[in-house]
């Protein structure tokens, strides 16, 4: 497969996953502020700053808006063209990547992303309010899931599919670690007695942001506590929205791409990803919390950034002089 085509498919998947994640985080936060009404004004900066932190960033937000409140945060994360992580921008980027490989993806995939992009382009904050946050974000998520469904049923299981999965799961692992990190900062060292009502609401919100609430309840019958939630979201082997699961899936996609069928990766990208996966396989949640979970999550993010650039160097923009013959 052409390197450029692989690159576009990889980024198509990353941007889609990013939009999906932003929609989810925004949706859960809008609902959480309602649950927290006894403790926190729905429009309070504290209610919205954390999610700005995980999508777009506080700095770029404050360059555009003065006040951190519900409407500014929502506009920033949904429609803002100066926020490259906003849903509209992510989908526009996904669509640009899809357009560049229109001959490689099925017409159904192209038409779905194109239709979705055109609709988002026409929407405004007013139309968002008219439809209602929950319903609107649901439509966003459904449109993305429809794309995933079409991709799953139409894409040949060759290199394109593997690059699609590689991008999707690396992006997911990265997003999860950012989200968990922000929540840990605001929740863990607060000195509040564990298991307070506020805690419970916030840990439950974190689970919901990761699509994990129902799965957690089913799989880990019992109380919602910080440690148990973190164990599930970081280290669970079977839950598709855990970091460990995502890294494992990314590794298996990369193994297909580089034809490394046993555990011996020949390329640096594979070795780095394999190391990360092994570390997650053998990690223990108590150790992580006792040492420094923030540092752990930060390193995980830099590992993923490093793996992404190694993938680029190995398969996409490798120096011609070192290239082998296909």
């Amino acid at each position: 497969m052409l390197s450029r085509v692989a690159d576009h498919i990889y980024w198509l998947a990353r941007y889609l996953e990013r939009a999906d994640y932003t929609a989810r985080v925004l949706d859960v936060n809008s609902q959480m502020v309602l649950d927290m009404s006894g403790y926190l004004e729905a429009d309070a900066a504290e209610a919205w700053l954390p999610i700005i932190e995980v999508s777009g960033g506080r700095e770029s937000f404050l360059r555009i808006y003065k006040d951190v409140n519900e409407s500014n945060s929502t506009q920033f994360m949904l429609f803002d063209s100066d926020n490259p992580d906003s849903i509209r921008q992510s989908i526009a980027s996904a669509r640009e990547n899809a357009r560049a490989v229109r001959d490689q993806i099925s017409s159904e995939m192209w038409e779905q992303i194109n239709r979705f992009h055109l609709r988002l382009k026409g929407d405004t904050y007013e139309s968002f309010l008219r439809i209602g946050p929950s319903e609107y974000l649901n439509r966003v998520k459904s449109s993305i899931h429809l794309f995933y469904g079409i991709a799953d049923s139409m894409m040949p299981r060759s290199q394109g599919w593997e690059f699609f999965n590689l991008g999707r799961f690396l992006e997911r692992a990265n997003n999860l670690s950012r989200l968990i990190d922000v929540k840990c900062i605001s929740l863990l060292p607060a000195g509040k007695p564990e298991g307070s009502a506020v805690d419970l609401i916030q840990w439950a919100a974190l689970l919901r942001s990761c699509w994990a609430f129902e799965a957690f309840r089913k799989n880990r019958q019992g109380r919602i506590t910080g440690k148990r939630v973190l164990d599930y979201l970081i280290l669970d082997e079977f839950f598709p929205k855990s970091i460990r699961f995502s890294v494992t899936e990314a590794e298996s996609a990369l193994r297909q791409i580089s034809d490394s069928h046993d555990h011996h990766f020949k390329d640096p990208a594979g070795r780095a990803l394999g190391r990360l996966r092994a570390e997650l396989d053998y990690a223990e949640i108590n150790d992580l919390i006792e040492t420094d979970i923030h540092a752990f999550l930060l390193r995980l993010q830099s590992d993923i950034a490093n793996i992404s650039s190694l993938i680029d160097h190995t398969f996409i923009s490798y120096p011609v002089e070192e290239a082998r013959m296909a």
Partner: protein, 499 residues
Amino acid sequence: MRTPARSDLFSHYSLDGFYDEMFAAPGDPRPHYRKLHSRLETMDSLTLAEKQTLADQAFLRRGVTFTVYEQGEGTERIFPFDSLPRIIPAEEWARLETGLAQRMEALNLFLADIYGEQRIVKEGVVPAEVIRTSKHFRPEMMGVKLPRGLHVHINGCDLIRDGEGNYRVLEDNLRCPSGVSYVLENRQTLKRVFPNLIRDYNVRSIEQYCQDLLNTLLHLAPEHVPEPTVVLLTPGIYNSAYFEHVFLARQMGIEIVQGSDLTVRDDRVFMRTTRGLAQVHVIYRRIDDDFLDPEVFRKDSLLGVPGLFEACRKGNAALCNPIGTGVADDKAVYAYVPAIIKFYLDQEPLISNVETYLSSEPKQMALIMERLPELVVKSVNEAGGYGMLVGPHAAKAEIEVFREKIKANPRNFIAQPTIQLSRCPTVCGDRIEGRHVDFRPYVLNGESVRIMPGGLTRVALRKGSLVVNSSQGGGSKDTWVLGKTTADSESISENRIIL
């Protein structure tokens, strides 16, 4: 039961003295248009509008678009489509076909000669000056051997019909002629809009084109390569014809690449794949000569591939069309094509040129100066209607400006009598009116010359307009070439697929 009323779709139709594709005289359709005419006669404006909507929706859904640039932002537009076909009867097509093949053969010999011995110059048929000063003449190509001795592989030859209905060549397009994807999409659409009419009419299929194009490309591969790799080289997704590039690559099942995907090593061309470098043998390029190789042509080109020219010169890769074909579609060289045909083939041209005066020839210059207000003046290197004077429509001052320009740089201009394009019935709101059309068939030159039975009919949708360019209110029509027998019809070839 409702008896179909005689429709008033044609109530405002007038011929205005132009050659009309459908009508020999007011209310009197030519034989090959009679079926379409009687179908339209029993159709009310509502049904016609439905047919047109059906066609428009099909284009919208499939995203058949071109890009228009306004204020730095590209917008994708639908290429307007008119649902009434242009029809060419079998005998008329047979004459066109031989004429187009003759022209292709002569132009190929001309290019081989120009980049070889230049016999035609030495014998004084084409002045050396005309060749030397042609913007698209590439001295780098002198003496370069090309695969199978083919110097041009595709000509999108623009034809018009004069006041008597005679076909004439308006210009050749020997570099990267575009538009064929619309021809194929138009047919797909009309199959849905007028399925019965297409069957009744015995319309010839154009399905074969992409296979013929692929065969033409494969024919250029080095002979010792058992499974050559063919790619389409595009300037990228922002190019106005990107839709067409994707369409053709997909139809032929070849990779679509950008300059950055290709690299040259040891004078061989490779594409970068996720598994390393893979050799490329034939490149269907949709990039102009100037941008192909920054080592040889424009140094600032980011679209091209450094070293590509040398790889082709050594015979390790082939380009379609080859470099330097543009010398033969130069508007001044165009005036010599009848002489070129005579020189190489010893034949009279079967399709005439439009009468053309060269301001570089003293005698013709005098004539141009005398008759300037009634002539059309074109700049030899421009396309798409730029740098043009339409004498009868121009202000006196504008004519004088051109007079000075021509005197200052005679090589840069040609002049032609104002030509009247033929008109064809076209849907205009809720009725049918005549609109001017031209015609671009696609001529392939591989193992033999092959011409798709059809082509791009462009129509100037604005009343009275002669400009058929898509950027200036032009649209297109399906073109039906009729079969002599049922053996080569669209319906039969479809049956074959079903069987």
